[in-house]
Each structure stands twice: as structure tokens, then as C-alpha cells.
């Protein structure tokens, strides 16, 4: 079972009983709430347990939450490029994003759904700031360096002279078509609040005590959004809880985004883990390789 981080679709959410859009009246939710909803869903679908819960980034947090809250329902768990607690630096970047959205006059205190406008500018800036944290300095240098859009030099104005500016603007603009601004506020807040150990007396190992789930944690060397040490902290907690755990640190300059990209070492490790877990579970899983 997999899910992506970006699942908040644009457009007004289902209205509450009074008929008006929720706006900011919707309660702030947590990662645990998301997982509880997923657990209720699979129960409603008649699914008793899950072979493998895999997720990257916020998906990795959900995978960890799954394994901690429903250990008997999770045979294997693969947290990728994630953390058991969101760092101060990440909260800071998310706050920049939220402030950009809320500073957009079209946000209208969160009530924009009642009007024809959307806080697209604020949301685009939020995405631009966040997107930088998904890349790496080495990756940016390799891809863009100080390359210019026009060959005839600087415009000596404020257009996107540099390729990296143009790339970021594009990232921001394409994001607003598929993401809702208020959803961005709620989801980033849910991630800010995530600190799995807090629910287990401050000990992350305690969250996984007696767990029979087999884990494989993946991290990427140049990821500074969820750096290797955040992921390794998860692996260490699992080790000290006596869990079956593997930890793989993939060497790459693609930063946090690496988990969404074609990264042979990562895919090889992931495929190997899933195949081995399937064999242990007695599943005849054939993974096509190409």
C-alpha cells in the first residue's frame, strides 16, 4: 500500500452541514488522524491487515504511525526519506510558506472559496520556498549552476534571468493548479506537529516495543529536508526496540526529491526488501524488472 504526499486536490471541500465552505473552520488534523482515517477505511473495505506500508516524506511519517499504532496489521513497513519528528528548520520553512499564503490578499482570511479568486501567488511562493528544500546545492549546481535563460546576458531587471529562477517559478505556478491553499496550511501543520516519540513517553523505541513488523528505512545522502541522521534515528530506535530492521543510506545529489526519482540503488534495495518480505509472508509476488 502506497500513497503520495501531494493528495490535496484543488476546489472546495465537501461543505459542512450549514452549506458554507469550511475555510478555516475545519479542525487542525494530525498525522495520527490521517492514519486513523486510513485504518477505518481498510476496515470498512474488509481488509484485515496490510502486507507492506510504504511512504516517503509525510508518507513515511504515516508509515511509522501505522506501525506504531497498528503493529498487528502491518507485516512490513518502509519509511523513506522521513523523520519521526519534524525539525525546527523544517517548521521554519513551512512557516514561511504559510505566511506567504496568508499574506496574499486573495486568501481572504481563508474564505476565498466564497469568491472567484484564489491565493495563487502566495501558494506559489510557499511551494517555491519548500521546493528548494527538496533539492540540494550540488544538484542545483549540476542542473543549473548560474545558467541564464537568455544567451545575451543579464536583463538588469527583475525578470527570471537565471534558469534556476525560471525553474522555481514554474514549480510554483504548476503547483497551484493541483493544490489547495488551505489544504497546504493544514497539511504542513499536521507535519509540524508530528513527533511520534511524544505519544510514547518521549522514547521512540517505546513506540515499536514488541513489534513483529519488519522494517526497512531508506535515506538519501544529500537530503537536507529529512537528512540521513533523522532517518538513522528511526533505525536506531527500531534497533533498540529489538525490531527486525534494515537501514539503507543512498548516495545521491538529488536531495529529498530522490525518493520520487529513478535512483537505481534505492529501487534495487526496495525491490529486494519487498521480494524478501513477500517470500517470508508466503506471497508469490513477481515484480517485473525492466
Amino acid at each position: 500500500m502506497c500513497w503520495a504526499a501531494a493528495w490535496a486536490r484543488p476546489g472546495p471541500p465537501r461543505p459542512p452541514p450549514d452549506g458554507a465552505p469550511y475555510g478555516l473552520r475545519f479542525p487542525v488534523i494530525t498525522v495520527a488522524d490521517m492514519v486513523r482515517a486510513q485504518a477505518m477505511l481498510i476496515e470498512a473495505l474488509g481488509i484485515k491487515d496490510l502486507f507492506c506500508v510504504i511512504g516517503g516524506s509525510i508518507g513515511g511519517m504515516q508509515a511509522l504511525q501505522w506501525a506504531a499504532a497498528y503493529p498487528a496489521k502491518v507485516f512490513a513497513c518502509v519509511p523513506i526519506a522521513t523523520a519521526a519528528r519534524h525539525s525546527a528548520q523544517n517548521i521554519a520553512f513551512y512557516e514561511v510558506g504559510r505566511q506567504a499564503i496568508m499574506a496574499d490578499p486573495d486568501w481572504r482570511g481563508g474564505e476565498y472559496h466564497a469568491s472567484e479568486v484564489r491565493p495563487d501567488k502566495g501558494l506559489a511562493v510557499a511551494r517555491m520556498a519548500a521546493h528548494i528544500t527538496y533539492l540540494s546545492e550540488a544538484g542545483l549546481r549540476r542542473k543549473f549552476d548560474r545558467g541564464l535563460q537568455q544567451r545575451d546576458g543579464f536583463s538588469f531587471g527583475f525578470n527570471a534571468d537565471f534558469q534556476v529562477e525560471s525553474y522555481l517559478r514554474h514549480q510554483g505556478q504548476s503547483f497551484v493548479d493541483r493544490f489547495d491553499a488551505n489544504a497546504y496550511l493544514y497539511i504542513t501543520r499536521a507535519i509540524d506537529y508530528f513527533d511520534l516519540a511524544q505519544d510514547y513517553g518521549g522514547s521512540l523505541a517505546q513506540a515499536f516495543k514488541e513489534s513483529a513488523t519488519r522494517f526497512c528505512v531508506f535515506s538519501f545522502s544529500s537530503d537536507w529536508h529529512y537528512p540521513p541522521f533523522d532517518n538513522k534515528a528511526i533505525a536506531r530506535a527500531l534497533v533498540s526496540a529489538g525490531c527486525e530492521v534494515s537501514y539503507v543510506e543512498v548516495e545521491t545529489d538529488k536531495g529529498h526529491d530522490a525518493f520520487l526519482l529513478e535512483e537505481p540503488v534505492f529501487l534495487q534495495g526496495l525491490t529486494g526488501f519487498i521480494d524478501a518480505a513477500a517470500a517470508a509472508r508466503g506471497l508469490a509476488l513477481k515484480v517485473p524488472r525492466g
Binding site: 526497512c216 533505525a235 534497533v239 529489538g242 537501514y247 534495495g269 525491490t271 526488501f273 524478501a276
Partner: protein, 204 residues
């Protein structure tokens, strides 16, 4: 498993491990020893390995292996988490062998250490006659390229274990890929004639 002959120190280690044990292999490479122990001794094995290729190979075999190193990553393991903690030809490559050894016997009830013997007569002869750091089939890398930063002799190791309050339960010399060494009835002689040695340690 390759049909090749089992590595000499592996077969000695296999002999030392009781069936059904919990085993941690520190510096487990591609997981060959862990697989062997699982197959022959029904051991419940875990590993620690530094190299990406080694870790990936282990994960693909269904082994639980943490990418990390002996110097830093044993701290997370609880006391007595394993019946045996194994360092197969790894101790000479760690930064702080004494500390690693202490950790080994904290995490494990017993420790098993295999190592190349720098005191073997061929090493001594090579150093005396040529006046250069020995390059042999067992230790093929030149001094400036080797990862072995803490090479030692059999006696050096036994002395360190003693100084750390550890007891040598068994010591098996290896020569020409076989257990045993000529004249090796005492540690002093094994120090001349064993190419490698495997130590089974416990807390005295």
C-alpha cells in the same frame, strides 16, 4: 551461496555458534556468514555493514542489516541483545578496537573475533628482510591503500582482551585455509605460525 569452499574463519565461527542463537554480524559484507549461520545453525541473524553494495545485497537476501559502522552504531543495541556478536576480519579496520570490543561484549553474551595475524613468520621475515610493510595474499593492499588501520598480532589481541577483562574461551588458529597451525599448542607459537585466528570471548 556460491559452491566455493566456505571461508576458513567462517567454518570455525560456525563451529562456535550454538543452534538457534541470536547473532549480530558487525561488518557483515554481503551477508554470506549470516546466511550460513541461518542455514546451518538456524541462527536469528542481524547485521551492520558500511558499504552500500553490501547492505543492498543483504536486504535483497531478506537479511536485516543497518548501514553503519562498528565504531558508532553499536551504541543503539541494548545490553545482551544477542548470544554472539561477530567481528569477522573487521577489527583491524575499526577506529577504536578497544571500545568496539567492549561494545561487542556488552551487546552480546559472547563475542567472536577473527583476524589476520600480523605476527606470522612470513610477515616478520618480509619486514626484516625487505624493510618494507609486508604485502601478502592475506593482506594484499599497500600500506597507503589499506583500510586496515589497526593490524595486530594474535598475542596483541589476546593481551587487549585480557586488559578489558574479557576471557578467551577458545582460540583457533588458521593456516592455509584450514583450522590449526604447526606447533601452535601455545599462544606464543600460534603467534608465529597462525596466518589467522578466531577468538571466542566471554565476560570473565
Amino acid at each position: 551461496m556460491s559452491p566455493d569452499k566456505i571461508r576458513a574463519d567462517y567454518s570455525v565461527i560456525l563451529d562456535m555458534v550454538a543452534p538457534g542463537s541470536r547473532v549480530l554480524d558487525v561488518g557483515c559484507g554481503d551477508g554470506a556468514l549470516l546466511q550460513l549461520l541461518a542455514r546451518e545453525r538456524a541462527a536469528k541473524g542481524r547485521g551492520v555493514e558500511l558499504s552500500q553494495t553490501g547492505v543492498n545485497a543483504c536486504v535483497a537476501k531478506g537479511l536485516s542489516v543497518v548501514q553503519g559502522d562498528a565504531d558508532r552504531d553499536l551504541a543503539a543495541y541494548p545490553d545482551n541483545a544477542f548470544d554472539y556478536v561477530i567481528l569477522s576480519k573487521t577489527i583491524q579496520a575499526v577506529r577504536r578496537p578497544g571500545d568496539v570490543l567492549k561494545e561487542l561484549l556488552r551487546v552480546g553474551e559472547r563475542g567472536i573475533v577473527s583476524l589476520p595475524n600480523f605476527g606470522h613468520w612470513r610477515m616478520r621475515l618480509s619486514l626484516v628482510s625487505r624493510g618494507r610493510m609486508p604485502v601478502t595474499t592475506a593482506l594484499p593492499a599497500a600500506w597507503h591503500e589499506t583500510e586496515n588501520v589497526h593490524l595486530c598480532t594474535v598475542r596483541d589481541f589476546a593481551e587487549l582482551a585480557g586488559a578489558l577483562g574479557l576471557r578467551v574461551e577458545r582460540a583457533v588458529p588458521i593456516t592455509n585455509g584450514e583450522p590449526g597451525a604447526p606447533f601452535a599448542r601455545t599462544l606464543w607459537r600460534a603467534n608465529w605460525f597462525a596466518e589467522e585466528a578466531v577468538f571466542l570471548l566471554n565476560r570473565a
